[in-house]
Amino acid sequence: MEIAMTRDDVLEVVQRHVLAALDDLSPENFDPSKSMKDLGANSLDIVEVVSRSMRELRIKVPRSELSKLTNVNELVDLLYENAVATSRTS
């Protein structure tokens, strides 16, 4: 039986990829209420973090939905909703 993914699992995935993309961002400075730009990411960093997170979570989120996000928590929520929806249909 597959264990259901939680929102915290998704947050952990996103945090790991943000910290990998931003060499000098310490875990203590990772604040998901901030935007990725506020954490120091540029456009390529953001695209790489989202791409790696989607690949690890095995989900696809349309770019049109991603462009509306204003902070990391909203990204985590969106990825989590899609992960749950994907697991229901598979």
Binding site: S35, D38, L39, E48, V50, S51
Partner: protein, 196 residues
């Protein structure tokens, strides 16, 4: 078109020219280095545009277009700013539109994930054509410069000829470790980047 490459760590912050809204925006950055670089960019943009427009830097007003592209509110011309790590690229044109982008070269870039997950599902040969990273970054900065020049998102990879026949993009020689590009509808002669 004026193009400047600037080491943000060498910019003397001018809090007297930065607007109160920009000062409060700086506070949102989590790391001090990002806070300082943001204020350096605002100082830089106001100082450089003030020079070419012969205006007091503090008097310049900006507004954002529909997709967030900043515009001069009460002065002629178009400008664009991009930064990566500690360097910023700034361009100004008195007529037409301009966009710039700069990226620091990086050892580890997951090109396959970016192309497959974010931009769709290209054929393996499409991914191969972007190796090594430099080729991907060259295409990326040209894409970003074009997107900034138009003020609209563009599909990636894109052909500027297809997207907008009046726009052209050029790779800029910024020296290691940076790759940069400019896109504009203004005819460029010799593209010279000024170090500031």
């Amino acid at each position: 078109v004026n193009i400047w490459l600037v080491d943000l760590d060498s910019v003397d912050l001018r809090l007297d020219v930065v607007a109160p809204t920009e000062l409060s925006q700086a506070v949102s950055y989590r790391r001090k280095v990002d806070h300082d670089h943001f204020l350096a960019r605002r100082t830089l943009v106001r100082t450089l545009l003030g020079q070419v427009l012969d205006r007091d830097p503090a008097s310049l007003c900006f507004t954002n277009g529909t997709n967030g592209k900043p515009h001069l509110l009460d002065a002629a011309g178009d400008f664009s700013v991009s930064s990566s790590a500690a360097h910023a690229l700034v361009a100004y044109t008195p007529q037409g539109c301009v966009g710039v982008d700069i990226e620091r070269r990086r050892d580890h870039l997951d090109i396959a994930a970016i192309l497959t997950e974010y931009f769709g599902e290209p054929a393996v040969s499409d991914i191969d054509q972007f190796e090594p990273n430099d080729e991907f970054l060259r295409r990326w900065v040209q894409h970003e410069a074009l997107a900034k020049a138009t003020g609209a998102g563009l599909p990636f990879p894109c052909s500027e000829r297809i997207q907008n026949p009046s726009l052209t993009s050029h790779i800029l020689d910024l020296g290691v470790p940076y790759i940069g590009a400019i896109a504009t509808d203004t005819i460029l002669g010799n593209v010279a980047v000024q170090r500031w």
